[in-house]
């Protein structure tokens, strides 16, 4: 006979720890001088960032014509990377807000990190869509509706204006949500440190938090409100990004499946990125007992689900193109699968739909090398998904006379490097200067924290 486990919430940590041990384990990277490995990693990412910034500076001087885009493919690496990074952000909000509202307490161990990644990813996206995309980035302010003496106003029926609002809202809400969650931990750090400078910084940032009952009660209420506020953003932001395409007249873009398809893809790629980075972080900082295999397995399950949704969308796109009877639609989809960009299309299908099916098997789902490799492939595949959507449609649209071919230049790779360089530099600075796991929240899910019958 099996014995029933009456624990309300099983502890998340894999071995019994005390609150003090949790603080020490999580704050350890902040207390000591960074390791050699951290410096090597930081050297690589900051070099990438510097290279990317140099690319942008040269583009500002010379013109965005340095990129490879042309007529008819007027969007290419700029918007591909923009959509890619906005998508990466979605896992963070899903983990921190939706899983919180659903009382999935295992999320406490990874929410902080995922939220931080959301903010960094949205910053990357914002950079792509301004300095690496606009012909005249110094006029980006024109996209905001502000009163001016010219009586000029933005065009509220343009999806690009919706994007401006969606991305800015997303960044603001994510930032506030993340900072709110940090406050109790910043207070813990303030109380732990003996360094006068750190003491001052943490004191200012923790806004006078004293762990009083009243503070906690306000905090919990506000956290819940912000979680409720952030939840619709998981759906709305990528929906609006998909409108950039769905609202246009172009075959292969003008389709109603885009919003759910983009949201599923965003969560898919976001989880792959969070999983990849956490695998490295838990190993480097010896946090395997806090970010457990259960976390990784849960993330892999979400990837299996969303990857299959994306696969369904690929199949439906093909079916609807045929079923529509529109010769333009049929051509675009046959061209994706068989035309000059077929290699990109099949890279996308195999990375996003085929490899992730390995996660049906528990043994493979729990194998770190395999899940890491699948996570990397998913992000390759999701990058190519955006590339395929943008470039194949534009390169061969209505009039065969204006068909063209896009080939990236070294500057295209330069701006792409900027994205990855900025993202991982920020991640490295984050793990060095802030607690990458919410100490306060972990204490709520450790053994003994929950009432038992």
């Amino acid at each position: 006979m099996t014995s029933l486990d009456y624990t309300i919430d099983p502890p998340i940590t894999t071995r019994a720890v005390t609150p003090a041990e949790i603080d020490s384990a999580i704050a350890a990277p902040l207390d000591r001088f960074p390791s050699k490995r951290w410096w090597i990693a930081f050297g690589v990412t900051s070099t990438m960032l510097a290279g990317g910034l140099a690319t942008i500076a040269y583009m500002l001087y010379e013109g965005i014509g340095l990129l490879g885009f042309n007529q008819p493919v007027a969007w290419a690496f700029d918007i591909t990377n923009f959509v890619f990074w906005v998508g990466i952000g979605h896992a963070g909000t899903l983990i921190s807000a939706i899983l919180f509202l659903m009382r999935q307490r295992w999320r406490n161990a990874i929410a902080r990190f995922a939220e931080a990644m959301t903010i960094f990813a949205v910053l990357c996206a914002a950079i792509f869509v301004t300095v690496a995309h606009l012909g005249r980035p110094w006029l980006a302010g024109y996209l905001f509706p502000y009163p001016n003496q010219h009586a000029l106003w933005v065009n509220f029926i343009s999806p690009l204006v919706w994007d401006v609002f969606a991305v800015n809202t997303y960044l603001t809400v994510s930032l506030v949500f993340w900072y709110l969650g940090l406050i109790p931990d910043l207070a813990t750090l303030r109380d732990r440190t003996t360094n006068a400078v750190k003491k001052l910084v943490y004191s200012v940032l923790s806004l006078g938090w004293r762990f009083s009952n009243r503070h906690w009660s306000h905090y919990e209420r506000m956290y819940l409100i912000l979680a409720g506020f952030a939840t619709p953003l998981v759906l709305s932001v990528h929906t609006i990004v998909s409108f950039d395409f769905a609202v246009s007249v172009n075959p292969g873009w003008h389709t109603t499946i885009f919003p759910p398809y983009f949201v599923a893809g965003a969560v898919f790629s976001g989880f792959a990125m969070v999983q990849n980075v956490l695998i490295i972080v838990r190993k480097m900082f010896k946090l395997e007992h806090i970010i457990t295999m259960k976390h990784l397995e849960n993330m892999n399950k979400v990837m299996l689900l969303t990857g299959s949704m994306v696969g369904y969308a690929y199949a439906m796109e093909m079916f609807v193109a045929w079923y529509s009877g529109s010769q333009f639609e049929r051509f675009v989809f046959l061209n994706r699968a068989l035309g000059p960009y077929a290699w990109a299309y099949w890279t996308m299908v195999s990375c996003n739909v085929v490899f992730v099916q390995l996660f049906w098997f528990k043994r493979l789902r729990l194998s770190i090398p395999i899940m890491f490799a699948v996570g990397v492939l998913v992000n390759v595949g999701m990058w190519f998904e955006r590339y395929v959507i943008i470039v194949t449609t534009l390169s061969r649209d209505f009039l065969p006379s204006s068909w063209g071919h896009f080939s990236p230049t070294i500057f295209d790779f330069g701006i792409m490097m900027l994205g990855f360089g900025l993202f991982f530099t920020l991640v490295l600075l984050f793990v060095r200067f802030l607690p990458s796991i919410a100490m306060a929240e972990i204490k709520a899910v450790m053994d003994g924290a929950q009432a038992k019958h």
């Binding site: 969007w75 012909g135 343009s158 246009s248």
Partner: protein, 385 residues
């Protein structure tokens, strides 16, 4: 209607303090009957009309007890006489009766629901005077152009594909020369181009060509997607570009089904310091009437707006209205075969209107509903059959 009712105008009903379904007692000098009210806009004020023949007591399972017997109002003497009685009075009795109608009453005083059939164009009506003045009034364009509206027609029977229009446009509109490397990357800046298509077999090919330029669509896809309204529509039907406002999202180009928009990838004039533009005579080459576009902005055919503005200025000076024939575009002037026609499509007698109405006239990609304003005249091949 399952029941008969006392039809009252909404105003009379309001004065009596009753509304649809309220029971009222209607009395004449001969008798009285109780009937529910039904509001009937258009009923004469201070009058009531009631259908006879209801309220039967022995009409079988379906007919019995339906409606209200109003024969007492007529009196026995007039049963076969007058049906229009004067001097009736109405009194609210209290109580109500459910009247079931297949078409619900649409209040005229509710701004929200009022006249929806007209607002939604379900019922379309006009006046006789309106019809006599303009028999086509029902099918006027949604976007009404009060005056002149520019349009172009290209006769593909006449076009010989010589590219003179391209050259003429380049010179007129300060089209940048971008160099071989940029053309190789699909960055030529021509506002008009000759599209060339082959059909048939290698042994027996057939060639078609088609001058393609901005179609100045009435329902332009480029205009909807510009976040800063840099591309917009003029009152005389031009799809225009405000270079100063353009931030260079290139969304307009992506959403143009004809791919006629051209982006300034670089400051073409500075980039080729070793090339054409630094040479002395080239400083003087530019048409002073046309803006030299800076890097990062989109541009495209303007229908030679500088010539339109000049013609308008002359017309104003001479104190007359601008006519469609006052303007010739650069491509039109350059065409040796007079294949390009330009003018006022609001004037039914203009040449361009005749081309637009021609049975061989068509618009490219009509199914996108962009409503382009360049009419092509289908080519007829004489195969000697």
């Amino acid at each position: 209607m399952w029941d008969n009712y006392a039809a009252l105008s909404p105003i009379t009903a309001k004065q009596l303090g009753v509304t649809s379904g309220d029971l009222v007692e209607v009395s004449t000098s001969d008798g009285a009957a109780t009937v529910p009210v039904f509001l009937q806009p258009g009923q004469a004020e201070n009058s009531v009309s009631i259908a006879l023949g209801y309220g039967r007591t022995n009409a079988g399972p379906i007919g019995t007890g339906i409606g209200f017997d109003v024969t007492p109002l007529l009196g026995t003497a007039t049963l076969n006489g007058a049906r229009i009685l004067s001097g009736a009075t109405i009194k609210k009795t209290g109580g109500s009766h459910e009247i079931v109608s297949t078409q619900e009453h649409h209040a005229l005083d509710d701004e929200f629901t009022k006249e929806l059939h007209l607002k939604r164009k379900i019922v379309r009506e006009g006046t006789l005077a309106e019809y006599e003045k303009n028999p086509n009034f029902l099918h006027e364009e949604k976007v009404t152009y009060s005056g002149l509206k520019w349009a172009m027609a290209i006769d593909l029977n006449k076009c010989i594909g010589c590219n003179a229009c391209v050259a003429g446009c380049n010179v007129e509109n300060n089209i940048p020369v971008v160099g071989k490397d940029q053309v190789a990357n699909g960055r030529e800046m021509h506002w008009i181009r000759i599209d060339r298509y082959y059909a048939g077999t290698d042994a027996a090919p057939s060639l078609s060509h088609q001058p393609m330029l901005c179609q100045h669509c009435d329902n332009a896809p480029c205009e909807n997607v510009c976040p800063v309204v840099a591309t917009n529509h003029s009152p005389d039907g031009l799809n225009q570009m405000a270079y100063n406002r353009c931030v260079g999202t290139k969304y307009c180009s992506n959403n143009c089904p004809y791919k006629v928009r051209r982006f300034n990838f670089f400051d073409w004039r500075d980039r080729f310091a070793d090339g054409y533009y630094e040479e002395q005579p080239f400083d003087l080459v530019h048409n002073p009437e046309v803006t030299v576009r800076s890097r990062g902005v989109m541009e495209k055919c303007t229908f030679c707006i500088q010539r339109i503005m000049e013609a308008r200025q002359h017309a104003t000076e001479q104190g007359r209205e601008l006519k469609g024939t006052d303007v010739k575009t650069a491509c039109q002037e350059a065409c040796p075969a007079t294949a390009i026609v330009f003018g006022d499509m609001s004037d039914p007698k203009s040449e361009v209107s005749k081309y637009r109405a021609h049975t061989l006239g068509y618009h490219v990609l009509e199914e996108t509903n962009a409503k382009p304003n360049v009419t092509y005249i289908a080519r007829l091949k004489n195969l000697g059959e």
